[in-house]
Every structure is written in structure tokens, then in C-alpha cells.
Point group: C2
Chain length 105, copies 2
């Protein structure tokens, strides 16, 4: 768990963090606002936000006492990029396999 890709996948492996990401698609939110949705402490949510920030999924901005969390969608491209690369390779392999099987002997 060192590279950006690992951090991104790991960040989204937690249901609460995925839900936070989902909510942030609607609007930027403060820590307290986010925490009101879950049955965990404010500090736990604060930790989740740090994990999301370290993964590049969230950026944060201070405004007075409040810290607004903002979704950064670029990391989504990193994830889908990795997935699509290997999905494509798997599909190519199957195409080649079909070719061989259909080749008249």
C-alpha cells in the first residue's frame, strides 16, 4: 500500500468512505455535516477524510472554523484506466482464442 493506485483502491474499499464520496458528488461538505450521516464519531469521519485526501480523491479548504471537503474526480480516471487496460487485454485474449478454435483444422 504505497502507490497512488493502491491508496485509491484501498480508500474506496470502505463503505463509509464510498458513501462520503457519493455525497460529495452533490456538494462540498464540512466535516460535521458529513459526520451527521453516520453512526461513528466526528473524529472517525475526520480520519476517513484524511484517507480520502491522501488517496487524492478529496481536496480540502479551510473557511473560518469549517473545513470543506471537495471531490476530485481525476483519481477516478486512474482507476478506470487501470481496470480498462486489463479488461481489454482479457478480451483480446479471448478473441485470439476464438480465432484459433474456429480455424479449420
Amino acid at each position: 500500500m504505497d502507490d497512488e493506485l493502491s491508496r485509491a483502491f484501498a480508500a474506496l474499499a470502505d463503505p463509509i468512505r464510498r458513501d462520503i464520496v457519493a455525497r460529495l458528488t452533490a456538494d462540498d461538505m464540512t466535516v460535521t455535516e458529513i459526520a451527521s450521516s453516520y453512526d461513528v464519531s466526528l473524529q472517525a469521519v475526520s480520519k476517513h477524510l484524511r484517507v480520502l485526501e491522501a488517496a487524492g480523491l478529496v481536496s480540502r479548504r479551510r473557511d473560518g472554523q469549517q473545513r470543506w471537503a471537495h471531490l476530485e474526480v481525476d483519481v477516478f480516471d486512474l482507476l478506470t484506466g487501470w481496470i480498462d487496460t486489463y479488461r481489454r487485454r482479457a478480451e483480446l485474449r479471448h478473441q485470439r482464442l476464438d480465432e484459433i478454435l474456429r480455424r479449420p483444422t
Copy 2:
């Protein structure tokens, strides 16, 4: 870490498991074959394969002494499905925001 989505994200958070998935796009492989690529014990690789199987990313078939691992690409759709849903929402939000900002006052 209970649902399929969490298991899939968590499975891909580990670099060795991602590399195993990458190799399986080329061909089905046995445990020993896979283990030869990494500096960990055969048992550790066996565990990684169980995690990948539990996540639905890999299926396994016994053939004599050997157990072949086979990549299952459907889980990729589950992942990209989730990601694309929320990327789309985030983009829609930005479109609406742009509309408002461009609206003459």
C-alpha cells in the same frame, strides 16, 4: 468489508494481487507458476488467490494436482459501474453550477 464492491476494491488495493490479475489477462495459471514471480511463499500466494476468488475476480478449477486460476472480468464492470455513476453525478453538478454562474443577473 462485507459487500462485493468492498471486497473487489480491497482485493485490488494490494500490488501483488493487482499484478496477479494483470498476468491472468494473458493466460490461466497454476499457483506454483504465479508464485514463481514473487518473493513471497507459495502459501502467501495461495492466500492472495483466495482473496481474489472471494472478490469474484478469479475462478479456480482443479486439474489433477494443479489448481488453475482464471480471471473473471465481470467484477470489472461492477467497479467501473460504481465509479462512472459518481463521476457522472459530479460532472452533472458542475454543469449545473456553470449554468448558474453564466446566467445573467
